[in-house]
Subunit: 272 residues, 2 copies
Amino acid sequence: MAAALAAVRAGEVDAALVPFENSIEGSVPATMDGLADGDPLLIAREVFLEPSFVLAARPGTTLAGVRSVASHPHALAQTARWLAATLPTLAPQTETSTAGAAEAVAAGRYDAAVCAPIAAQRYGLTALAEDIADHRGAVTRFVLVAPPGPLPEPTGNDKTSLVAVVADRTGALLEVLREFAARGISLTRIESRPTRERRWVYSFSLDCEGHVADARVGEALAALHRVCDDVRFLGSYPRADDRENRPVAGEATDAAFTDADEWLSRVRAGRL
Amino acid sequence: MAAALAAVRAGEVDAALVPFENSIEGSVPATMDGLADGDPLLIAREVFLEPSFVLAARPGTTLAGVRSVASHPHALAQTARWLAATLPTLAPQTETSTAGAAEAVAAGRYDAAVCAPIAAQRYGLTALAEDIADHRGAVTRFVLVAPPGPLPEPTGNDKTSLVAVVADRTGALLEVLREFAARGISLTRIESRPTRERRWVYSFSLDCEGHVADARVGEALAALHRVCDDVRFLGSYPRADDRENRPVAGEATDAAFTDADEWLSRVRAGRL
């Protein structure tokens, strides 16, 4: 993940599709931290994929001949029962990515890798077993990350991602949540994470419903910008899971904000 | 009070100074309701006065000859102990204003009135006793009410008054308070009042620190306009008691709001 994000930041690639969270394992810390730190990047879209894992080895290897196996820890976690049942005497080794594990098998450093079928193909490996994930239906949410630029247009069913950094003080999380609740905005994910640079300063990584172009979302983010130590905007993009955003309450629509702004202008001018 | 407000609304007078609340008796319901209902009026300033009450009678009347006494209920309440000690056998009568009581004495309907020295003078009465208030230092807050027009300029030490009407639902008051707290605005007075037209619909009459021209106050009022059934703006005017507004927190200054708005514009344009 770090390499993919670095390649986007360096301009070597236009965008990278990186795993953001997994329905079994939760968030992917390397991606979270990779987006929160360093030069700003934008999430242009989200994609939900059901990963398919194979046990890949060099051609000619048999299952009985596998003496070592490697993969990314998430992939090992998602195939742990299958591995324990099939290769009970092996202690799997960890690599920084499933593709990296496949590459290491091709280079002869391990006998087998848990990886996606496409990685096996890419490194000239054959599948000793297919569909080896313990839980069928485990879904990984990927995000397409690109350099800053024009945001995707609002579709009416969007999500917005951001990281809010707040000092360690009583009620800090409540203050963050209040800015969303007061404007009728539902959160779809929130996670507190330590900030690596500063001890006792927390960051909240969160997704909310709506697009930053929506009045309610824009005002909430502007409020966080005032209240928090730092707010990093990660993107507004079409919602791609199979759920619809909650209906927007009457007082939280763009029309309600426009009406309130016009009323305020009249009040300030003394036209009651 | 109702007559004074009606005269302002009818354009018969330019403005009226009406009692708003009293440090002993609390708010003046007739003024509260008179401002909340009917054509909009604006509070242009507040004045704190220590009322001086006299017992006024027609020339020639002696204290021993007083057989009836009348005044406004607030004035009677503020002189109750003096009246009970001095005229123990009389049951005071109520009039709609202290000046009205003085006028009624002049017309011969009562022997004496509890009123301001100026009212006694105006109706040709003489003071049988002066400074008869039980509590010295009771202060009445008056407001100068005028037809809608340009607001007083912000002075940096202003108050804003309004009435917010909310349907009867759990958390309604909390929603109102949240809009102020989230923007670092202190309230100096709040009072729930029944709305006369609609049962089970409450109105909150309140004063907050700051001027509607301030970004934090303006945004809070616009939010109330969205969230409440109705918001009636009553005015922004210089604070005239002997207290200073609390210092404005860094995140609630106009500069912080401007900075947040500029940040939001950059985010919406994808310039991170």
